[in-house]
C-alpha cells in the first residue's frame, strides 16, 4: 500500500488507557478531516504521524519511514500541536525563524521564510511582538506559521481552530484551503463538525481509538442504511405529499412539523423521483426542500450512536 | 417575530444547606494533601526515608542505648548515653528530609497556583485569602508532621519502652512532651517558611531556587557568621536553630568546635520571626493577587 501515511494494525496505549486500537488506514492526499469526540484518539494518531509517539504495536509509516526514528522524513512534515504552550519570551518572528532553521532551512533563508509564513497567516503587523502578549487567535496563527514556514509536503494540524473567534476562524479556514490548493497534504483534526465541513468533505471518523469510517462524507452517508435518509418538504399541502408517498415500500416513516412533512426513506433517489411526480400531479406549491441529515453531524451521530455531534 | 421562551430543562438551583464560609479552608487542606500523595517523588519516597531514619535510630537506641556517646555531652560537660542523645541527634536527619519535602511540596505551591491560573478558580468562589493560606499551611503541616513529628515521638516511645522499671519510666516521661514540642516546631518551620517563599515570586522554578539558596547557602553563611562573630547570628539558619532548641530541651550540647549552638532565646525568636514573616508574606501576596485579579493562565 502506498500513501502519505500508511498505518498497519497500529495501536497505542498509555499504561491501561488505550489511545488508538488496531488502526489500519491509508492517507492519500488533499485536505482530510480527522473527526472524533474528545478522547477519541485524534491527537494520539497525529502525534504518531508527527514522530512524537511510537506505536505500542503495529506500524505507522509516513512517506514510507518511521517518523519517530527518521530525521529525514520529519523535514517533510509540518506539525502544529493542540496545546498553546510555546516559547513565550520570543517574538513571533524569532520563534518561527528558529523553528524554520531547525527544520533544515539554511540560516540565510530562514528569516525571510519565517516572514513569508507569518505574512501568509496574517501576522505581519505583530511579528515583532513577544508571543506572551498574544491572543488565542494570534497564537494559533503563529503555530500555523511554524508549521508551514519550511514548506513541508505534509501538514498535521491538531485542532487549529480551538479558542479562535469567528472572524479569525473563517480567515484561518481560508488559508488552510489555500495551502491544500497549493498541493499540500493536510490532516486537520477537530471535534467541531462545522469546522471540518467548512474545510473538506473527505473525513476520517475516529471513535474510542478506532477508525469508524473514512472517505467522502456523502458516500459514507449513503452507506449508513440502518438510518433512513430524512427529507423535509415545506409546502402548502403536506398531507397530500404524505398520502402520495405513504404506500411506497422505501418509506420508513412520515411525520409532520410546522409547515412541512418529513419523509424517512431508505432509497432517497427513488423518493426524490416520486416526490417530483406527486408535486406535479397534486399541484402542490413547494416552498422548501432540504435533507436534514445529509451532513457531517448526522453522519457522525449515526456512526457513533450517541449525541456527540455538535 | 415570535415571542421568546425560556425552557425548563430540569436544572434546579441547589437550595440545600451550605457549609459555613469559615470551613472552606478544609477543602483547600484536603486538596493539598491529595496533591501531596499523588506521585512517589513528591512525598512518599521521602516519608519512607524518614521512616527508615526512625527505624535506624530506634535500632541504635535498642541495641546500644547503654553505651556512652562522644558526640554530645551534658550541659556541664559530662558524658552521656546514646539513649539520651539520640533524639536531639536525629533532629538533623529529620531536618534534611524535611527540607527535601519542603522543596517538593511547599516551596512552589503558591507560585504553581499563580502560574497555572488556579487563583481564577479559587477566588471566583466564596473563598477568602485567609482560607486559602490556612488550608495550604494546614495541608503542608499535616504532611510535614509525618516527617518532623512522628519520628521524634516514636523515638520517645522507644526510649520509654527501654526503661528498666516504673520509676525510670516515670522519670523519663518528660521526653514525650519534649519530642512533641520539637516536632511541632519543626513541622511549623518546614511548612510555613517555604510557603512564604512560594508566594514571593510567581514562578515555580525561581521560588524553588530562592528557598533552596536561602536554606542551604544563606543558612551556611549564617552558621559561619555565628561561629566567627556571634553565635546568635547562627540562629538564622533554621536547621541550626532547631538543633539548638533540641539540645536545650534535652539538656545536651555538641562537643568540639564543629558547631557553636546559637542561644536558645535567639533560636526561638528566629523561628518565630521567620514563620510569622513567611505566613504574613503568603497572606499579603495572595490577598494582592485576589484583589488585582492575577492568576489567569495565558
Amino acid at each position: 500500500m502506498t500513501g502519505v501515511v500508511v498505518a498497519e494494525r497500529c495501536s497505542k496505549w498509555y499504561g491501561h488507557v488505550l489511545g488508538v486500537s488496531e488502526v489500519t488506514w491509508t492517507l492519500g492526499g488533499g485536505i482530510v478531516g480527522l473527526l472524533g469526540p474528545n478522547g477519541a484518539g485524534k491527537s494520539t494518531l497525529i502525534k504518531m504521524m508527527g514522530g512524537l509517539l511510537r506505536p505500542s504495536r503495529g506500524t505507522l509509516r509516513v512517506y514510507g519511514e518511521d517518523p519517530f526514528d527518521s530525521v529525514g522524513v520529519r523535514r517533510r512534515i509540518g506539525y502544529a500541536p493542540e496545546h498553546e504552550a510555546t516559547w513565550d519570551e520570543l517574538t513571533a518572528l524569532e520563534l518561527v525563524t528558529a523553528m524554520t532553521r531547525l527544520a533544515g532551512v539554511p540560516a540565510a533563508r530562514a528569516a525571510p521564510a519565517a516572514e513569508a509564513a507569518l505574512d501568509q497567516m496574517g501576522m505581519t503587523p505583530a511579528m515583532h511582538r513577544r508571543v506572551r502578549g498574544f491572543s488565542k487567535g494570534m497564537r494559533q496563527r503563529t503555530k500555523l506559521a511554524t508549521a508551514i514556514a519550511h514548506d513541508p509536503d505534509f501538514l498535521l494540524l491538531d485542532e487549529p481552530l480551538t479558542g479562535v473567534d469567528p472572524i479569525a476562524r473563517a480567515d484561518i479556514i481560508d488559508r488552510i484551503k489555500q495551502l491544500g490548493a497549493a498541493g499540500k497534504t493536510i490532516l486537520v483534526s477537530s471535534h467541531v463538525l462545522y469546522e471540518i465541513e467548512a474545510l473538506t468533505s473527505e473525513i476520517v471518523v475516529i471513535y474510542r481509538g478506532q477508525v469508524l469510517a473514512e472517505g467522502n462524507v456523502y458516500e459514507i452517508r449513503a452507506l449508513i442504511d440502518r438510518h433512513p435518509h430524512r427529507i423535509r418538504i415545506e409546502c402548502d399541502r403536506p398531507r397530500a405529499i404524505a398520502a402520495a408517498l405513504a404506500a411506497e415500500d422505501h418509506v420508513a416513516r412520515l411525520s409532520f412539523d410546522r409547515g412541512g412533512v418529513i419523509v424517512e426513506t431508505r432509497d432517497p433517489d427513488r423518493c426524490y423521483d416520486q416526490l417530483a411526480a406527486a408535486v406535479l400531479a397534486g399541484g402542490v406549491v413547494v416552498t422548501g426542500l432540504s435533507s436534514p441529515d445529509n451532513n457531517l453531524g448526522a453522519v457522525f451521530e449515526y456512526l457513533t450512536g450517541d449525541g456527540g455531534a455538535r | 417575530m415570535s415571542a421568546g421562551q425560556i425552557h425548563d430543562l430540569g436544572y434546579k438551583r441547589y437550595v440545600g444547606s451550605r457549609r459555613a464560609v469559615a470551613t472552606r479552608w478544609t477543602v483547600i487542606l484536603r486538596h493539598q494533601l491529595a496533591a501531596s500523595w499523588k506521585t512517589w517523588w513528591r512525598f512518599k519516597i521521602w516519608l519512607v526515608a524518614a521512616a527508615m531514619s526512625t527505624a535506624v535510630a530506634a535500632g541504635v537506641l535498642y541495641f546500644a542505648s547503654g553505651k556512652m556517646i562522644r558526640l554530645f555531652s551534658g550541659l556541664r560537660g559530662e558524658t552521656i548515653q546514646i539513649a539520651d542523645g539520640i533524639i536531639p541527634l536525629s533532629t538533623q536527619w529529620y531536618c534534611k528530609i524535611g527540607f527535601i519535602v519542603s522543596l517538593t511540596l511547599g516551596a512552589s505551591v503558591i507560585a504553581g497556583d499563580v502560574q497555572s491560573g488556579a487563583f481564577t478558580f479559587y477566588f471566583a468562589r466564596s473563598l477568602r485569602p485567609r482560607d486559602y493560606v490556612a488550608g495550604k499551611l494546614a495541608g503542608l503541616a499535616i504532611a510535614m508532621s509525618l516527617v518532623m513529628l512522628v519520628g521524634p515521638l516514636v523515638l520517645a516511645g522507644v526510649r520509654l519502652g527501654l526503661s528498666d522499671d516504673n520509676d525510670q519510666l516515670i522519670a523519663l516521661l518528660p521526653v514525650v512532651p519534649k519530642a512533641l514540642a520539637l516536632g511541632v516546631l519543626g513541622t511549623l518551620t518546614y511548612a510555613a517558611v517555604p510557603l512564604g517563599f512560594s508566594a514571593v515570586v510567581a514562578s515555580r522554578r525561581y521560588a524553588l531556587a530562592l528557598w533552596a539558596v536561602y536554606y542551604i547557602v544563606i543558612g551556611t553563611m549564617a552558621q559561619g557568621l555565628g561561629a566567627a562573630i556571634n553565635p546568635a547570628i547562627g540562629a538564622l539558619d533554621l536547621a541550626e536553630a532547631l538543633g539548638a532548641i533540641a539540645h536545650a530541651l534535652f539538656g545536651v550540647q555538641l562537643l568540639g568546635r564543629r558547631s557553636v549552638d546559637p542561644p536558645l532565646a535567639a533560636a526561638m525568636i528566629s523561628i518565630a520571626v521567620q514563620v510569622t514573616a513567611a505566613v504574613g508574606v503568603a497572606f499579603w501576596r495572595v490577598r494582592r493577587a485576589q484583589q488585582t485579579g492575577v492568576g489567569g493562565a495565558s
Binding site: K47, G50, G51, L52, L53, R54, V71, G72, R74, R75, I77, Y79, P81, H83, A85, T86, W87, E89, L90, E94, A98, M99, R101, L102, A103, G104, V105, A107, T146, H150, D151, L156 | T39, W41, R42, I100, L103, T104, V201, S203, R205, Y206, L208, A209, L210, A212, V213, I216, V217, I218, T220, M221, G224, L225, A228, I229
Partner: protein
C-alpha cells in the same frame, strides 16, 4: 533542502536558549546568588573574622548544587513537562541535540558566573585565587550541569529538586574519607583546586569529573531518544 547539520542545530538551540534565558528573571536571580559569597566574604572581612579559602570553597560548592539545577534542570524539565518539546521533536533534528544545545548555552553561563563569584569573593576575603581553583569551580559547575541534564530527562517534573538533592548528597559524600568519595564531583573539585590533604595533579580529578558527567550525558541521550510527548 537537506537535514540541518548537527552543529548548526546545536548552535541554533543554544542561541534560542540564551535569548530566552536573557529575557527572563534568571540573569538577575543568578547574579544575586553569585553575589552572596562576595557579600559573605566582605562581611567577615569587615568584622575582622578572616574567612579561610577552604571555607569559602565549601560555600561555592553549595552554590554549584543550586545554580546548575536552576539553569539546566528546570530548563530541560520544563520543556518536557510543558510540552513545548513537541515543536522540537517534530523537527528534523536528532533528539540529543536538544540536550546538547541547552548545555552549550547554560553550562558555560553557570560556570562563568560561579568562577567569577569565587574570584571576587577570594579577592575580598584574602588574596586572588589561583586560576587552577577557578578552573576547578568551573569544571565542577559544568559537570553538575550535565548531571542536571541527565536527571531532567529521567524525572522532568521534579528535575530541579532531585538535582539539588543529588548534588547535596554529592557534597556530603565528598566530605567523607572513603573510596566512594572518588565518585563525588565536590571531592574531585577540591582535589583539583588543591584543597586536598596534599598537592595533587589537576588532570586526574578533572578526568574523574568528566567521567561522572559522561555517565549522566549517556543517560540523558539514551533517555531523550525514547522520550514520548
Amino acid at each position: 533542502m537537506t537535514e540541518p547539520h548537527a552543529a548548526s542545530t546545536v548552535a541554533t538551540l543554544a542561541a534560542v536558549t540564551l535569548k530566552r534565558f536573557g529575557r527572563g528573571k534568571a540573569p538577575w536571580i543568578a547574579a544575586g546568588l553569585a553575589a552572596l559569597p562576595i557579600a559573605y566574604a566582605a562581611l567577615r572581612h569587615a568584622r575582622a573574622a578572616p574567612l579561610r579559602s577552604d571555607e569559602l570553597f565549601a560555600l561555592m560548592m553549595l552554590l554549584v548544587a543550586v545554580l546548575p539545577a536552576m539553569f539546566v534542570a528546570s530548563s530541560i524539565g520544563e520543556e518536557i513537562e510543558d510540552r513545548t518539546s513537541a515543536y522540537l521533536w517534530s523537527r528534523a533534528i536528532p533528539r540529543w541535540a536538544v540536550v546538547a544545545g541547552k548545555l552549550t548555552a547554560l553550562a558555560p553561563a553557570a560556570a562563568a558566573l560561579l568562577a567569577v563569584s569565587w574570584y571576587a569573593a577570594m579577592r575580598v576575603a584574602a588574596a586572588p585565587p589561583s586560576l587552577v581553583s577557578c578552573g576547578a569551580i568551573a569544571a565542577a559547575s559544568v559537570a553538575a550541569s550535565v548531571v542536571a541534564a541527565g536527571i531532567a530527562t529521567v524525572v522532568p517534573r521534579h528535575a530541579m529538586v532531585l538535582t539539588i538533592c543529588y548534588l547535596l548528597t554529592d557534597n556530603a559524600v565528598g566530605a567523607l574519607d572513603f573510596s566512594f568519595a572518588g565518585l563525588s564531583i565536590t571531592h574531585q573539585a577540591k582535589l583539583a583546586a588543591q584543597f586536598g590533604d596534599a598537592p595533587s595533579p589537576v588532570g586526574a580529578p578533572l578526568l574523574a569529573m568528566a567521567g561522572v558527567a559522561a555517565v549522566w550525558a549517556a543517560i540523558a541521550v539514551l533517555r531523550i531518544r525514547r522520550l514520548e510527548v
